[in-house]
């Protein structure tokens, strides 16, 4: 069913059309138990080992709401500057698909717990764009399907499917934006920045790890085009399950180019869901969108309404962390780095590590230097997150301190870090075991200095003649002879002293 999809160049699409986006993000909460029953939510458990009569939809089982789930929803709503409903209900979203054994998903319909908010996002050049939030509501995740008998595990052509309901019932918060207008050619960038900022916010709130690669945060991208200058929105497509920041940007970009091609050739956009393909960044047609009323939503009779008391909401407001964007700007100023450098720190996942390292006593430039240099290189080589490296911010702070006091030079510091990463112990233990102390003792250095002078008479003569810069060659020779452990500054002093030259 491969069909060649026409695309127009991005710039051409933007010359004639104005993109309008709507982003729906699902966040899986990090609660210990499911939203409506006490089953555990551990990842990687044996299939169907974290299920009970409630999440299996067995007759007579009754759901009870997870208080932490509601609390997390309210805190997310508050962090998004939303109003919090004084009274709201759950609703049944009815559909036939075996990923929910109840044949409905417990969700919220016209009474979301949080509504009317916004999130300011900062683009890479520092421009701030306000994304308005329509609503954030509580619902539950579905089970995991495995399709058997078809090509490459796809549902098309499968002979049957297998269901694991461990995930069914895990709390989800769905966050829906209002139509994002006015972003123009920066729409894909805004989409990516919004999801990135939302992820940082969710992490700062501590309600979820929001790891997109683990499906803990998933994004649907709604996109439509309207002719430039036109008020009315065009027909939209909904690209489902776009699960990385880069993919969010690519999906939006692709859909802009595809819509423009269809519309420019006089065609009409079909309102449908589309699948995103990571390999080439394209989207393909999914199913034609069912109308909302087809889900036959009705108030969930088995769950009583949620009415967050005002005092409780205010108490929760007091627990909100500093907004990630403001925190980043504050840190950026404290660290004295550019917007671009801060973006690299953010992309590397190093913000909190650097903060922790400075809190452990290092100055910000050294903390940033080690995490963004040597350690980022190692993490990249090993294909792991920076935070997953077997070295703590306290270790890095100790290495920085040893460099600052002159016990280690950069080369030895790198070897120390290497030792810590190899599991040889703390920085001090590695220095001890590997014998990495800088040698600045004149007695120990003297012999090496004499040897270097004797071995390079021509250079020594130049220095005697006043060419102090030539001393570098002799320092190099000493460093080589001491395998990098000499205190380079002291070596230079000794050389000049011995040759009778003022430094």
């Amino acid at each position: 069913m491969t069909t060649v999809t026409d695309l127009v160049p991005y710039e051409d699409a933007l010359a004639s059309f104005d993109p309008v986006m709507g982003l729906e993000v699902h966040v899986e909460l990090g609660t210990r138990t499911k939203m409506f029953c006490g089953c555990a939510t551990e990842l990687g458990a044996d299939p169907n080992s974290q299920v009970c009569p409630t999440c299996l939809g067995l007759p007579g089982a009754l759901p009870v709401v997870n208080a932490t789930g509601v609390e997390s929803a309210v805190r997310i709503g508050l962090a998004l500057h939303c109003e919090i409903a004084e009274w709201c209900r759950f609703a049944r979203k009815n559909y036939f698909y075996p990923d929910m054994p109840k044949n409905f998903q417990t969700s919220q319909y016209d009474e979301p717990i949080a509504y009317n908010g916004y999130l300011d996002v900062q683009l890479e050049d520092g421009e701030v764009f306000r994304v308005e939030i329509e609503r954030a509501h509580m619902e539950e995740d579905t089970g995991k399907s495995t399709h058997v008998g078809g090509a490459t595990g796809r549902i098309h052509g499968a002979s049957h499917s297998l269901l694991d309901y461990n995930r069914a019932g895990i709390p989800l918060i769905e966050i829906v934006t209002k139509p994002i207008v006015g972003a123009g050619e920066r729409a894909p960038e805004v989409a990516k920045a919004y999801v990135a900022e939302l992820r940082e916010l969710i992490k700062a709130l501590g309600v979820s790890e929001a790891r997109m690669e683990m499906g803990q945060m998933r994004c649907d991208v709604n996109l439509s085009l309207r002719p430039s200058g036109e008020e009315r929105f065009g027909t939209r497509s909904e690209t489902k399950n776009v699960n990385s920041l880069r993919s969010v940007e690519r999906a939006a970009r692709y859909e802009i180019q595809r819509h423009a091609a269809v519309l420019s050739s006089g065609g009409a956009i079909v309102q449908e869901t589309r699948h995103f393909h990571e390999d080439d960044g394209s989207t393909t047609s999914g199913r034609v969108k069912e109308e909302a009323e087809d889900y036959r939503y009705f108030p969930e009779p088995d769950l009583v309404p949620v009415a967050p008391p005002k005092e409780w909401v205010e108490e929760l407001r007091g627990t909100l962390p500093e907004l990630p964007r403001l925190r980043r700007n504050r840190l950026r100023e404290e660290w004295g780095i550019t917007q671009h450098e801060m973006q690299s720190v953010l992309n590397a996942g190093a913000v909190d590590l650097i903060v922790a390292t400075t809190e452990a006593g290092a100055d910000a430039p050294s903390a940033r230097k080690w995490w963004m240099g040597e350690l980022a290189r190692r993490a990249n080589e090993d294909g792991v997150d920076l935070a997953a490296l077997p070295i703590t911010p306290a270790d890095v702070a100790r290495v920085a301190a040893l460099v600052a006091e002159g016990s280690l030079n950069d080369k030895l510091a790198r070897q120390t870090i290497e030792g810590v990463l190899a599991g040889e112990g703390t920085p001090d233990e590695v220095v001890e075991k590997r014998g990495l102390k800088v040698v600045s003792d004149d007695g120990a250095l003297g012999a090496a200095v004499d040897e270097a002078i004797a071995g390079n008479p021509a250079v020594a003569d130049k220095i005697r003649g006043g060419k102090v810069a030539a001393a570098g060659a002799l320092v190099g020779a000493v460093m080589k002879a001491t395998r990098g452990q000499a205190d380079a500054a002291r070596v230079k002093e000794l050389i000049l002293e011995r040759l009778g030259v003022e430094g």
């Binding site: 138990t33 169907n48 009583v304």
Partner: protein, 98 residues
Amino acid sequence: MPGISREEVAHLARLARLELKDEELDHFAGQLDDIIGAVATVSDVADEDVPPTSHPLPLTNVMRPDEVRPSLTSAQALDQAPAQEQQRFKVPQILGEE
């Protein structure tokens, strides 16, 4: 009278995955019409000042703490399943040949 059309019955039947014959559509349309008509008499006594009731009891905020409770074992969970494979519920083909 609310009046439910044949088309509406067909639509609901499709959503409920029920296969109905033509004569059944007419039959059920008439019956559903009677049922809805009977229920609609509630509107005669409930004026606009009476909000629709979804919950008969005046309860709110019934919640449980986020504490793990024992689940079923997977063997218990799968015990009543008509079919299973790889410790999972086995369900028939979801999408037909297209």
